[in-house]
């Protein structure tokens, strides 16, 4: 028994191309699911974080509670957070998304607050002096100036989420983690390597494209070092 196990381990290469070519649809589906889970998590996270971030920035009294609450959510390990939700929402897409969205909140809100705080007082006073009403000032002066910090938050949240999505395979929600889990269960390296490489490449591609987007939407900050 031991001998066959050892021989098997030696014969299992890091990547077996025949498996890859035979499993293209499976790999493509895992990748698509991974991207879907990530995009929805960061998108919904942003929808929640923008009002909360602006609230935390405006109301100093609410800043502490908002940071503490999202900080606690961020601290709870992903597997534990999913597990806490399972009795209520089951082994579902919803459970995965609630967990993933919770992790984006702290990063996004903190970057929104840091970005808004960094808008110079003179600039805001100048805007007021030019007759901007508060809402117009927010939309046309404060938010654009805070954009580099907010985009930096979106980049960190996206890359972090791509890593966390691999854990959702443990609650049966697919993604590239299902390939990694497959590799672990069958003691077969190829799906593990494919799943990990695609996850890392996806994270890098997402980071680079978001940084490109950041340059595109903040043309005035070019030449300065990136946030």
């Amino acid at each position: 028994m031991l001998a066959t196990g050892v021989v098997g381990a030696v014969e299992d290469p890091w990547i077996r191309w025949s498996w890859v070519s035979g499993h293209v649809p499976v790999i493509r589906e895992a990748l698509t699911q991974h991207i879907e889970l990530t995009v929805i998590a960061v998108g919904v996270g942003l929808l929640i974080a923008i009002p909360l971030g602006l609230l935390a920035w405006r109301q100093r009294l609410l800043r502490g509670p908002i940071f503490s609450l999202t900080g606690i959510l961020y601290t709870i390990p992903s597997l534990a957070l999913f597990a806490i939700l399972i009795p209520f929402t089951g082994l579902t897409f919803l459970t995965a998304e609630i967990g993933l969205v919770s992790y984006t909140l702290l990063i996004l809100i903190r970057n929104i607050v840091v970005g808004m705080d960094a808008v110079p007082l003179e600039v805001r006073e100048a805007a007021r002096g030019m007759g901007y009403r508060p809402f117009a000032e927010l939309l046309r002066v404060d938010l654009p100036l805070a954009l580099p910090a907010i985009m930096a938050g979106i980049r960190i949240a996206t890359v972090t989420t791509i890593g966390l999505v691999t854990v959702t395979a443990l609650i049966g929600e697919g993604g590239l983690g299902s390939l990694i889990l497959d590799g672990l269960i069958r003691d077969f390296k190829t799906p593990l390597v494919v799943g990990t490489l695609l996850s890392v490449v996806l994270a890098i591609v997402a980071d680079v494209s978001l940084s490109g987007l950041q340059r595109l939407v903040t043309p005035w900050s070019r030449g300065r070092s990136a946030a």
């Binding site: 900080g71 606690i72 601290t75 709870i76 390990p77 992903s78 597997l79 534990a80 957070l81 999913f82 597990a83 806490i84 399972i86 009795p87 702290l106 990063i107 903190r110 970057n111 840091v114 930096a152 938050g153 960190i156 890359v159 972090t160 791509i162 890593g163 966390l164 691999t166 854990v167 443990l170 609650i171 983690g177 990694i180 889990l181 590799g183 672990l184 390296k189 593990l192 799943g195 990990t196 996850s199 890392v200 994270a203 890098i204 980071d207």
Partner: protein, 235 residues
């Protein structure tokens, strides 16, 4: 019985508190694994980060290490370690050490770089030698950020140690992984609660330690706030 009642009963069941599979032993395994990995990761990461921060070179290395570290899923790291060193204690240990290094390298580097150049010049002007500048000026000022890196690593390690149950190591993750496998939601929930409480306890106590290590002259609400945000965006 309500679900919460069942969870309560699980915790009150004496058999869950004794033996190799009991809560105290699982907690011990979790803390032992995390502390050992954090200590070894710190021994590797802090000298590197502090040195490159002190001499002011290879800064890109510090930043890139952290970016790559963030892109590699910890779950994948763990499964890779299994391929290299088998199952049990060692793969989890190797993966957790690797996971713990990047935030500490980056934060100690940034902490050292953010020491005001004027302060460093003043120390030299007072006749302090290089070594004294490092130990008596730079390190104390960088301490809050270095500690923020240690905290980030510790929280990441404790979280990933939960996944170590997948590679046949114990720890509190055992309750979650077994609960998932056996469709035992009560055990699953109870285990998750224990993991969450441990993580929050680690975060809170290290935040306290970070405050203590901040030199008194640098202590204020705003600095802690800024340190937190910097540690996050850097980690």
């Amino acid at each position: 019985m309500s679900f919460i009642g069942q969870v309560l009963q699980w915790f009150l069941d004496g058999s869950h508190w004794q033996g190799d599979f009991g809560i105290p032993n699982r907690l011990f395994e979790h803390v032992y694994m995390s502390a050992a990995s954090l200590a070894v990761a710190a021994l590797i990461a802090l000298p590197i980060g502090i040195t490159i921060g002190h001499i002011g070179r290879w800064g890109n290395l510090a930043i890139n290490v952290s970016n790559v570290g963030r892109a590699v899923p910890s779950f994948a790291l763990l499964v890779f370690a299994v391929q290299l060193v088998g199952i049990g204690f060692w793969p989890a240990f190797v993966a957790l050490v690797a996971l713990g290094i990047p935030p500490m390298v980056t934060n100690s580097y940034i902490g050292m770089r953010e020491v005001d150049a004027d302060v460093r010049e003043a120390a030299k002007g007072m006749g302090m030698r290089d070594r004294a500048v490092l130990w008596q000026v730079e390190l104390p000022i960088a301490a809050p950020l270095i500690m923020a890196g240690v905290r980030t690593s510790a929280v990441n390690i404790v979280a990933t140690a939960t996944l170590a149950a997948l590679v046949a190591w114990g720890g509190l993750g055992r309750f979650i992984v077994d609960g998932l496998a056996q469709r035992d939601t009560v055990q699953l929930f109870a285990g998750a609660l224990l993991v969450a409480l441990l993580s929050i306890a680690v975060e809170v106590s290290l935040t306290g330690l970070q405050r203590i290590t901040t030199p008194i002259g640098l202590r204020s609400e705003t600095t802690t706030q800024e340190v937190r945000s910097t540690s996050l965006s850097a980690a």
